[in-house]
């Protein structure tokens, strides 16, 4: 992968993957700033997921790239070609929407072939290509059905086939899984990733579901109030968040007060390394992941900085989340369920904090672990 705007890469099937660049993109809706000078580059063949709370500007970014809205200022290029003022119909991008967007009066086959028909491709070739695409999403047997005869998951797969049928330069996915139930969502998520890798297309995926973003993206962009807070591979976003917002938005974080001293932070007697070793000394709030906290049943003494009482145990399947009262501060710990079975509400436990690098926030410590937005 390279950052050159004109560089293209080829996948195994000989398809050309292109780079997408957005520079200084801004968009206002009246007094509301939806995007504020956003810079984002998608490398050829890469899947970037934009993640963030409602109103952070992720869908606006995707719509500006698709040409469905005009930017107030900024520049968009695909494969080195300036598309800033090009209409949506001429941008050569496939898009899957959050709402079911299949044309109700057309069969599945006609839906998939619609874009090809607009490109004046002969009917035999059109049908062949439509069936190939339906085969890719595992729905070739449903070709003659109407959208209302399909389930939600099937409709989204057909929408994906339709978007890919025109061999677009870029694939845009606008929360395509949010209307589906959990099981279908997980299946389709994996299927989208498989197809994206198979086709090798540069893809922008917008979601508010962090699990979805972390599971399938090459890089995750976390957005807040029209800005990109961090753009990095999923593991880095999770383990080395660039800002307190990212740390708190992606996954759960315990906010524990401590003192920063010489590139480390001391929290309740534990010394933890800092993600940013240049953090100035002084009082701060450390953001500690629940999985970095482990619990040992029983306590060697009556009280101590890391001795607490179990308030609740939530079963999550393979893991369990335990809420511990640590002298007025609630701390979350995530443990394997086998380790959590011995813990019941009211039992005394000793906490251990694993010395993973943590981020600190200058704001005052809250009493409870912050749930994801």
């Amino acid at each position: 992968m390279t950052s050159s705007p004109v560089t293209r890469t080829q996948d195994g099937a000989g398809r050309t993957a292109v780079e997408v660049r957005m520079e200084g993109l801004s968009r206002h809706y009246g007094p509301v700033v939806a995007l504020d000078r956003l810079d984002l580059t998608l490398h050829p063949g890469e899947l970037v997921a934009l993640l963030g709370p409602s109103g952070c500007g992720k869908t606006t970014t995707l719509r500006l790239l698709a040409g469905l809205e005009d930017a107030d200022s900024g520049y968009i290029s695909v494969g080195g070609k300036d598309l800033t003022r090009v209409s949506a119909a001429k941008r050569d991008m496939g898009m899957v929407f959050q709402a079911y967007s299949l044309f109700p009066h057309m069969t599945v086959r006609q839906n998939v072939a619609f874009g090809l028909r607009l490109r004046r491709i002969g009917s035999a070739q059109r049908d062949k290509r439509a069936l190939e695409m339906l085969d890719l999403v595992g729905l070739s047997t449903q070709a003659d059905r109407y959208p209302h005869q399909l389930s939600g998951g099937q409709q989204q797969r057909v929408a994906l086939a339709r978007a890919l049928a025109i061999e677009p330069q870029v694939l845009l996915l606008d929360e395509p899984l949010s209307a589906l139930d959990a099981k279908v969502r997980a299946q389709l998520r994996d299927e989208i990733r498989r197809i994206q890798l198979e086709v090798g297309i540069t893809t922008l995926f917008v979601t508010h579901d962090q699990e979805e973003a972390l599971a399938i993206a090459d890089r995750v962009g976390v957005m807040r109030e029209g800005h990109l807070e961090q753009l990095a591979p999923p593991t880095e976003v999770y383990s080395r968040p660039a800002t307190p917002f990212v740390a708190e938005f992606v996954g759960l974080s315990n906010r524990l007060s401590g003192v920063v001293r010489g590139g480390t932070v001391e929290v309740r007697g534990c010394t933890l390394p800092l993600v940013d070793s240049n953090t100035p000394d002084g009082e701060a709030v450390a953001l500690v992941r629940p999985e970095a906290v482990s619990l040992t049943p029983g306590a060697s003494s009556e009280s101590g900085p890391l001795i607490g009482t179990v308030i609740a145990v939530s079963f999550l399947g393979a893991t369990s989340r335990v809420t511990v009262d640590l002298g007025g501060t609630s701390v979350l710990a995530q443990l394997p369920t086998s380790d959590a079975t011995a813990l019941v509400a009211g039992s005394r436990v000793t906490l251990t904090i694993r010395p993973d690098p943590v981020l600190v926030s200058a704001s005052s410590a809250g009493p409870a672990a912050e749930e994801e937005a």
Partner: protein, 287 residues
């Protein structure tokens, strides 16, 4: 209650049976009410129609039956008016022209407003519903000078389609608005645009086919309005079917043909309604 409960029937079952019985009685009363209302209103509408049909089938002697009035529809000519068949043809042509103009004007405009200039929706609605609030006589006073000008260039009664389009606007607008609100116009158009469709293709090949039932309803209402319109044609001195029937009824010794033609016009509108409903049902069943 326990005293009258059968040995093999628990008190709980007995108390559960009571509301069920009440429900059955209530449902029965509701059914009776429905049938009474249906019968009364059915008679209210059917009796004049049946009387009209009977009158149109009246023979030369009182109490006899004849199809003469129905056979005369094609050939009848009243004194001082054109042949009845020409009025029928003209009114049907007017209905077709009005329907086409209304559709060509209204469907793309409404879709465009929904897609691109939503802030105009209320203005459009008010404009389209305005003809409902203006009495026909006021419309004629306003339209008089315009039609004077039109008659300088074209004398045909087909020119009535201008005013009929205006008259049909409220009904067609409501029918089309219902159809538009039933589909996700924005998402469908954006999906089509992202696939490379022009705005024309979006309207003609994506949105309009999904408003088929609404378009059929708008057509039906427009056609029914044109087939039954009398006041404006009469006041603007044009001859359409209703105006001609009125003229014949004032001059003819054979009133039967007036009623046979009126009944035929009603029957035509009814058959049109049946066809449109059938077409809509077929579409619904398929997709």
């Amino acid at each position: 209650m326990a005293a009258v409960t059968a040995l093999n029937e628990s008190p709980a079952a007995a108390s559960a049976g009571q509301p069920r019985g009440m429900q059955v009685r209530r449902r029965r009363r509701l059914n009776v009410f429905r049938y009474v209302v249906f019968t009364v209103f059915g008679l209210f509408f059917a009796l004049p129609l049946l009387a009209m049909l009977r009158f149109s089938l009246e023979g030369a002697k009182l109490g006899t039956w004849s199809l003469t009035a129905w056979r005369q529809i094609a050939s009848f000519q009243g004194t001082g008016v054109p042949p009845l068949i020409s009025s029928i043809e003209l009114t049907l042509e007017l209905a077709v022209i009005t329907c086409v103009v209304m559709l060509v004007l209204l469907v793309p405009t409404m879709i465009w407003i929904r897609l691109r200039v939503q802030w105009l929706t209320r203005t459009m609605e008010v404009l389209c519903l305005l003809p409902l609030t203006i009495p026909a006589i006021v419309l004629v006073v306003g339209l008089g000078p315009i039609y004077n000008r039109i008659q300088h260039y074209e004398l045909s009664a087909l020119m009535l389609f201008w005013v009929y389009v205006i008259l049909a606007l409220p009904f067609a607008y409501r029918a089309l608005a219902a159809g538009l609100s039933a589909i996700d116009v924005t998402t469908l158009s954006e999906a089509a645009r992202s696939l490379g469709a022009s705005w024309f293709t979006v309207i003609v090949r994506v949105i309009a086919p999904n408003m088929r039932q609404a378009i059929l309803n708008a057509l039906l209402l427009t056609a029914a309005l044109v087939l039954g319109e009398f006041t404006i044609a009469y006041l603007l001195l044009y001859n359409n079917l209703q105006e001609e029937l009125y003229s014949i009824s004032r001059n003819t010794p054979n009133a039967g043909v007036v009623y046979s033609t009126s009944f035929a016009a009603l029957l035509f509108a009814f058959v049109l309604l049946l066809i449109l409903s059938y077409a809509g049902r077929r579409r619904g069943g398929r997709g």
